[in-house]
Subunit: 110 residues, 2 copies
DNA sequence: ATAGACGGTAAGTGATAACTTACTGTAAGT
DNA sequence: ACTTACAGTAAGTTATCACTTACCGTCTAT
């Protein structure tokens, strides 16, 4: 699966977004993250793994605990994916808006 | 569910992204979209509904066919969501990177 | 060394969601 | 009017995925 695919899938889940958003203010250990969430600690661990594989989150051992923090790489990947669309969409949207009445593409018959 | 939640969920699916990407070059009818996809036409219809509810896609009737095109609103929503993070993340990441060695937050003991 | 905290992993369960085929509706063509 | 093309909807199936409890490893402290 693509990098942005993993990131999109990771952030598609509500609970996972909650975990992710609790990292906005800075690094947190797992127990801290699970404390005020409606799911169990193992569930949070599993979500963190998905987020980590999507490069949205980093883990760092500190003694007994593991501090999770936001990894900018995943966000950057997502941003680039969207920006890639943005230019094309604006162009295609503009130029195709009035042309869509007839043929529906640039590379199609008519 | 939030607007960006719907958009993230819609784009999390591989097949749905394929449909979405086929609209990059301009509007297409459903049959045209389904033609070179590994799933049935009704499946594509169902995906289009999800994309439409996420405001990622628009539908426009033209005679017998329905032309689908990209709706910039969903992309914009997503962009704003990410940008909301972006500023915070860069700031928090920078300032918290070296501080994470001790207390793990801004509002915590230690 | 034993105990207690922290947290990842395994295995199983239930709900969701992506697919299929069958059906319905509508617009255009003959 | 009848047929054909286009596409949304219904119903049912299967696979995925988020969750649970139970278990295991590791680090710190006593």
């Amino acid at each position: 699966m693509s990098a942005y695919g993993r990131a999109l899938h990771a952030l598609a889940d509500e609970t996972r977004r909650s975990v992710f958003e609790r990292l906005r203010t800075g690094p947190r250990p797992v127990g801290e993250l699970a404390k005020d969430l409606p799911v169990s600690r193992p569930a949070v661990s599993q979500h963190l793994r998905v987020l980590r594989e999507a490069k949205l989150v980093r883990e760092r051992r500190e003694g007994n605990r593991r501090l999770y923090s936001i990894d900018p790489e995943g966000l950057l990947t997502l941003r680039e994916y969207l920006d890639g669309y943005w230019g094309e969409v604006l162009a295609a949207f503009k130029s195709a808006a009035e042309r869509e009445a007839k043929g529906y593409g640039d590379d199609e018959r008519e």
